[in-house]
Amino acid sequence: MRNVDRLCLAHFWVAFGAFLFACLIGTWQMWVRSPLGANIGTPGQYFMSVTAHGVSMAYVLTTFFIMGFGYFVAVTALNRPLPGRLWAWAAFWIALLGVVVTIIPIGLGKASVLFTFYPPLTASAWFYIGLVLVVAGSWIWCVLMLVAMSFSTSVRTFCSLPSVSPLRWSSKTA
């Protein structure tokens, strides 16, 4: 039934790997901006690390976690295998390629624009292309979630409940 264990784990490895990386550089940022670490590092390094921190926390952690968690919920709550598993792996690799394409210009100091972009400051084009690939991967995930739902008879049961309450839903399926 659970044909998505490796798929979910792969997403969670990337998500929490990004989280750990962001925690480490976040600690470094606090250190160098406190009296303890005064005069360590340059503003260039600082804002490069702030950008990497924001991208990791706001885009990589959230996107990969919600994708992995979504697949897990889809198969356990709907109680059937995930349709289109090859598409799911394609989405994973597209989004991961996006992360790599984003991280390289950040690491080279060519994209210190923070994760919220702040126009008209501009980063290297690869920064934006990489982020678009991350989003594109998550769109494939969105479609797969809809496909998984629409093939399920459970959906009809869910919609015919007199009151659509998450609590009642979980007690029904338990």
Partner: protein, 168 residues
């Protein structure tokens, strides 16, 4: 139903807080929309160098004009009177900046192409910090100015109606 009610209460509370702060301590977004050519700020008009700073006009209106640019405010110190309505006007020739004045309701973005205008009344005398709060590049954290709030008897405009920060 219960969940929908809970969410409704939460949204109402959030909107209530925004309304409360807007009505009691004047925390609301600046509403002025005024265009200006960012490429010609320094050439003529109110944001040319000799017009920057604090000016008191004939009818007693206090207007502060300043430029926000990578990576400083011009002028770096702004003198204002306490307990009197002050109009602050800012413009940027390069990228988006922002500013707030600590302990007051002054908080605005400064977008190239527009004049950011806010009105306020400073109630306490002393030096206030005015940092840039919109990321504008690698010197962003070094971009700040001082607002010197002077008591009425020390806020003395010169014959040209201009006031500068007291020298110390």
């Amino acid at each position: 139903m219960l969940w929908a009610f809970g969410v409704g209460v939460f949204i109402a509370a959030a909107l209530g807080m925004i309304l409360f702060t807007a009505l009691t301590i004047s925390v609301n977004p600046p509403s002025n929309v005024e265009r200006i050519d960012p490429k010609a700020l320094h050439l003529s008009g109110e944001f040319a160098e000799h017009n920057l700073g604090t000016t008191v006009s004939g009818d007693g209106t206090v207007i502060v004009r300043a430029i926000a640019t990578q990576f400083m405010f011009v002028p770096q110190c702004i003198a204002v009177p306490a307990n009197r309505r002050v109009t602050l006007r800012f413009a940027s020739p390069d990228v988006i900046h922002g500013l707030l004045i600590t302990g007051t309701n002054v908080n605005t973005m400064v977008i190239p192409g527009f004049v950011a205008q806010v009105h306020t009344e400073f109630t306490r005398t002393g030096d206030l910090l005015m940092p840039c709060h919109e990321y504008c590049g690698q010197g962003h954290s070094e971009m700040w100015a001082t607002v010197q709030v002077l008591p009425e008897n020390r806020f003395k405009p010169g014959s040209d109606g201009r006031v500068s920060c007291a020298q110390r």
